[in-house]
Symmetry: C2
Subunit: 124 residues, 2 copies
Amino acid sequence: MEDSPEQRLSRSFAALSDPVRRDIVARLTIGDATVSDLAAPYDISLQAVSKHLKVLEEAGLVSRRREAQRRPVHLESQALAEMTGWIERHQRRAEQRMARLEEVLADLPSSDTTGTSDTHGAGQ
Amino acid sequence: MEDSPEQRLSRSFAALSDPVRRDIVARLTIGDATVSDLAAPYDISLQAVSKHLKVLEEAGLVSRRREAQRRPVHLESQALAEMTGWIERHQRRAEQRMARLEEVLADLPSSDTTGTSDTHGAGQ
DNA sequence: CTTGTATTCAACCAATCGGTTGAATAAGGA
DNA sequence: TCCTTATTCAACCGATTGGTTGAATACAAG
């Protein structure tokens, strides 16, 4: 029972939808850190932070190794890359479409250039 | 009571954590569409899709205009840009750090290049 | 072996989520 | 006016989420 790319993407986005987890990711860009290191800035329990890390790990955004009784957390930037991959792909499509649209509008007779109106004709 | 950038980011990521909503965004890169257009491919009720669109709208990822009794939905690619902004910023930091680390490792005497070990010395 | 430290597991709770169905609203057309 | 089409609102429901506290596990060090 392994993970479809769809599911991993869902988990990654869900993981970064929490400000504490985004904050943790930001912190990890500076360097690996233990659970207690990461928990220090927050008012929540260590267990809560541990849960957040589990969520990040299951999304593939971080990995953990063992080092004595500590469990240093490491950011997996490749998982971030997959997310930007998805977003940019769609962003690009949307922007290309808008560019084509504006080109067409520029060629038209005249009247108002107002309103972000659109073809929107079916498709599907 | 307006929206901090932090909150909008949370909402955007949460919005894209659902496969149906990602799918809708993908569909909208082709062109604006009505609620029923968007609902057609799915087995869920029209109301459920309407809710999904509300989530996307509150995240700033789509906007809606009125056109007779229809409410065509339009993708706001700029909101996607904000997301990639956040991710890439952190991705870049992480990768730069790794690059510096590898540089240092290359200069070291010898022994194992194994294990993604790390400085991880405090920080905070 | 006992103690201390770092972390996770387990059970619980309130809030949110994704879905449902049924009723309400908005607008065009007979 | 009445009917149809498009969409939203409202109430409800089970599952998931982010937090809690208390007990368990994994190691290191006396």
